[in-house]
């Protein structure tokens, strides 16, 4: 406990908020990266599909945004925005740890679901290449992965709302 106390509450809380956005963004970057890479293959054959490829590439990008929402919400609840920094430094380790934990569902859910969704999006680009009329089915497949990012967001938000 004294080990955690040496950091102080604020640092733990900010670490949690930072990881929520940071890991979600890493996941989204990887996810959109995987999908984008698959997209270049199709676009080099058929540039007219760029709009649809972009939509599919964008789908794993929402996790980063959700992470940003949790981050923003966490620091707003802490009172970091426009609050007095010196009083914030006095945050107890227990409170800080609570913020940290509340941010974790989004951090982990965002990171891993975005990568998984990126792979599905890359597969959906294959659908777009081979069966262009059925590409919206790929959209649905991506949506199913997306739900777990939403649940992570929901869990983090429901916890943060209690602070």
């Amino acid at each position: 406990m004294s080990f955690l106390e040496s950091f102080g509450g604020l640092a733990l809380a900010l670490l949690g908020a930072g990881l929520a956005v940071g890991l979600s963004c890493v996941g989204s970057a990887k996810g959109t990266g995987i999908a984008g890479e698959a997209g270049t293959g199709l676009l080099s054959q058929d540039p007219s599909k760029s709009g649809k490829v972009m939509v599919l590439q964008l789908l794993p990008g929402t996790q980063g945004l959700y992470g940003m929402v949790v981050f923003f919400f966490a620091i707003a609840r802490m009172g970091l925005m426009g609050g007095d920094f010196n009083t914030l430094l006095g945050m107890t380790t227990a409170t800080g740890m609570a913020y940290f934990v509340a941010c974790m569902p989004m951090a982990l859910g965002g990171l891993l679901s975005a990568i998984a969704q990126g792979k599905v999006a890359a597969g959906s680009i294959n659908i777009l290449a081979k069966k262009p009329d059925d590409w919206s089915k790929g959209l649905l497949l991506c949506g199913i992965v997306e739900f777990y990012a939403i649940l992570s967001l929901l869990a983090s938000m429901l916890m943060l709302l209690q602070f």
Partner: protein, 646 residues
Amino acid sequence: MAIVRMKKLSLLATRSQKDEILHELMRLGCVEVREQDEILSDAGMADVLTRESSDAVEWRTKKTALSEAIKLLDRYVPKKTPMLTPRPELGEAQFLDEAELESALSAAREIIALDERMRSDTAEENRQQLLIEALTPWRGFELPLETGGTRYVSMLLGTVPAAADLGALSTALTEALPESEVFEISSDENLRYLSVFCLRSGEDAAMPVLRDYGFAAPAFGAVTGSAQENIKAAQAALEKLAADKAACRSQLEQQAGNRDMIKVCFDRINTRVDVEEAAERLLKTEKAVLLEGWVSVPEIPAMEKTLSGFDCAYELTEPAEEEYGDVPVDLRNGKIVRPMNMVTDMYSLPAYGSVDPNPLMAPFFIVFYGMMMADMGYGLIMMLLSLIVVTKAKPQGATMRYMMPLMGLCGVSTFIWGALTGGFFGDLIPQLIRLFNPESTFALPALFSPLDDAVAVLIGSLILGVIQVFTGMIVSMYMKIKRGETMSALCGEGAWFLVFIIAGAGFAMGQIKIALIAAVVVLVVTQGYGKKGFGIITGIFGSLYNGITGYFSDILSYSRLMALMLAGAVVAQVFNQLGAMTGNVVTFIIVALIGNALNFALNILGCYVHDMRLQCLEFFGRFYEDGGKPFRPLKIKTQYVNVVKK
């Protein structure tokens, strides 16, 4: 409003009127001509009947030529059509008039020929350019390049690498063959260009030395005349080619005037191809043809009226139940429900003889969409966008025709939910007011807010989910009872209804234990229905497990309604706040606009996908019988013009 009834049509007509009949049927657009393989597999029939022949191949070739010409015109002489331009309209009689076809085809052929000429010109240009490049270093050499020497003297032209030591080469050559001389004509960073003169009889002695220094033949190949002359000729050829290309281009520009005509004729030929392909499915004897197909019941009177003008006999039969798999499915609904086709088409059409899901789904789809998006500002944009596109561009394509009205309907719902939650581009207005007056606590009136009443909204979404799942179960029961499977309906959905009622009552009265026992008893009694022996026990446990997990996860899935509502609202608020942090009205508006546009774009897609998932998995899963084949009647299908009936 539901799945349109179909009847089987068998039509015998004289062969001479075949084309006319097919054309008339195409104008009506209510008959799908089907393949008749099973008749031909009967040996007795196959003696009399053979497949009708057609000119489909010839027309398809013409169609390819026109589409190629359209593509070429769009590439060489691109025409900017402003967005939201509706397709030009054409009367039906005018559309079916094929007088223009020949001139369109000849224009198309000319365009294709011009393109080929331009391409061969470009290839020739490249060749000449390469020649010029190869000859330029030899410019200073005035003898004709093919000279090769005199009777006693050999002249060798060639290159050595730039790094080669010319002095050493010269010395080595003189040692090997005193009667020789090397001249450097020019050099660049890679090569030195040399002419070597030696005694013809000593050439064999000179060659090994030259080779040691990397002496290689020049790049220009067989050329007659001096380098200078050849370069001049190539330049003249280049000028000629450029002029020819310019001429082609201006001719293509002239042809651009025919673009609209070619496009109309493409559509004409396309309908012609359809007619010919339908003709291929007919069977013929010497004097008669047999057409088999499906006709939609509401159009039968019109078809009978048309056919009365021909020498033909026909029979309409109701499809038998075992044929339902072959009957094509057409969904017809009113204006509000029709856009739902977008969802059903994407999923899979309902089987003939089952229920049209669109009217059942429409209220849920629209309400759910609005709930997830829930913002007055976004709703307004959707309504406006839909209104403008529908009235201005009159979209005809399969997706746009449904997508735009659907967006408008969802926009209305989004606006209403936005009014309930007090969202207008998130919290744009309160933030804006706070910029001027930091003390203001103004907020749009709201019945509830996804942030403060998160749990209440979550419960509300689950209740909506229960309602939709129950609706699905009722439909399924209705379908089973209609087919005479009353017991199956009662033991399946009926038992689960009872379980839900018992569970609800138990919770309400605090008698959870008794309710639980009662529910298990009900399920144990009913779930073995239709199974035998040991199958009863596995049936009971199987459906207990599948049922409980299935209903639970399905209903919990509706939590996304709340989650997306919250996510959308919070993202908008975050961007508004980021804008407000700049403390300046102009930057606030810029940041808030960009952020809201991003949020809008993500949400409009996200809400659609999630709404569709709820319909396709949670709702359709309860009752839907898919696998219907779409009804593809012979009708006028166009890409570039709208054909209006007059």
